[in-house]
Symmetry: C2
Subunit: 229 residues, 2 copies
DNA sequence: CGAGTACTTGAACCCATTCAACTTAGGTGG
DNA sequence: CCACCTAAGTTGAATGGGTTCAAGTACTCG
């Protein structure tokens, strides 16, 4: 399930917070980095638990969700993929607990980073510091994407915007991994599972997208028409 | 309209990113800080403009909004008050432009901070760095509050959650400045102005809240009942 | 191949939108 | 200081989109 690994050999390093660091930067740091493998559905950490580690997602997909106070449903606040960093709220010394529950949507590989070591590293290395600031910024932008593009408007437009956003890093027309159930998509978008299902079914009937197994393929989504209606 | 000021004498310093710094820390930095005063409705900066300065809000209230691509309406992504920092997206070197449009909801005083100087300062002073990380964290938490408590559910519950959140830093039962129009509240919550007005009017009729001029007074909001319904 | 889970679909209901009319509040000039 | 004027807030009625709940269908995994 877990084991040690060498960051210097990591094929993902260019995308990670250690990108741009040389061997001289990294090797003497003595940062122990562990590999973690999670099966689909497994929980990595829970909201409120002591935050001692951050994680880098190397493959698979995860969701961050929060328990709503007066409601039984869970709201999904972020979806993560290849290269994303999670659990770093503990870097802010005032936040000693995880703010979300992290669950694997699909079988996932992560590496574990000790937060105190990471903190020390960011003190010493401006590049790491910049990289971390960048992660904070993207987390914020992702949240604002959700607010702006998804938080209001008709369901069709929200689903369409999300699908385009989800597939944005892949070439047009590619078959993109899509390990997200209707219920989860609904929790993320703020609609009922039934209605999300309706919209997705319509999109498929209209030939906007295709689905096969846990992959999706965007053919052509008439964003203009959907938003304008 | 503008003038220089001395951070060391600022009555807000304990709340600001310079909190915890001594005179020795601050005085030799040569950071020029300017005072800015804005009348209600004035725009401080616009989405897409070159980001050279961050700002600290010393009094009044502001909103950050984004223009929606396929929509004419603007979505409000954050509301700011006393002590809040805005415009710091430029600290991330990859973001040279403001991500939002900043507009004064009320007559407001701010101080202007040069971003490059602020960057230098955060390199040298761990306390400033920590304070900035804290600001990033609160921006993120604020966005997630909006997602979780306000982005889904019945309008009554959203309005109630927002009002409690807005008044949280004041003592219970206090008259709290509330320079937010129905239309703006609607843009923030993602409802129509008409419906927000209806809900607010109901709340007032039921004695949950009182309004007078640009101030509000929460008497008692039965959150449990509203959310449970 | 069977069982359980996810997905789809229908119908009734409910909440929010829309648009328009009306009321209130705040500000300006006489 | 009052009368007017404008912008903001309130309210009603009709419409429409989304939820809910339940039934039926299609996967997927063992």
């Amino acid at each position: 399930m877990t084991g040690e690994s060498d960051c210097l050999l990591c094929p993902m390093r260019q995308l990670s917070i250690f990108a741009g660091l040389t061997i001289e930067d990294l090797s003497p740091l003595g940062m122990v980095v562990e590999d973690i493998h999670l099966p689909a559905g497994a929980t990595l950490y829970r909201q409120g638990e002591n935050a001692r580690y951050a994680f880098t997602l190397r493959s698979g997909a995860m969701k961050l969700s929060v328990h709503r106070r007066h409601q039984d449903e869970n709201r999904i606040v972020r979806l993560l993929r290849y290269g994303d960093l999670l659990g770093f709220e503990g870097l802010n010394q005032a936040r000693l607990h995880y703010q979300h529950t992290a669950t694997a949507l699909d079988a996932s590989d992560l590496c574990l980073l000790d937060l105190t070591a990471l903190n020390r590293l960011s003190e010493d290395r401006p590049k790491v510091r910049q990289a971390l600031i960048g992660r904070w910024q993207s987390a914020l932008e992702e949240a604002e994407f959700q607010l702006v593009e998804i938080g209001a408007g008709k369901a069709e437009a929200c689903v369409a915007a999300f699908l385009c956003h989800w597939c944005r890093v892949f070439p047009d027309g590619a078959w993109v991994p899509f390990p997200i159930e209707r219920k989860e998509l609904a929790d993320y978008l703020g609609f009922s599972a039934a209605h999300v299902s309706r919209v997705m079914a319509d999109f498929k009937r209209n030939g906007y997208v295709k689905e096969s197994g846990k992959r999706i393929n965007i053919q052509y989504i008439p964003l203009r028409r959907i938003a304008g209606a």
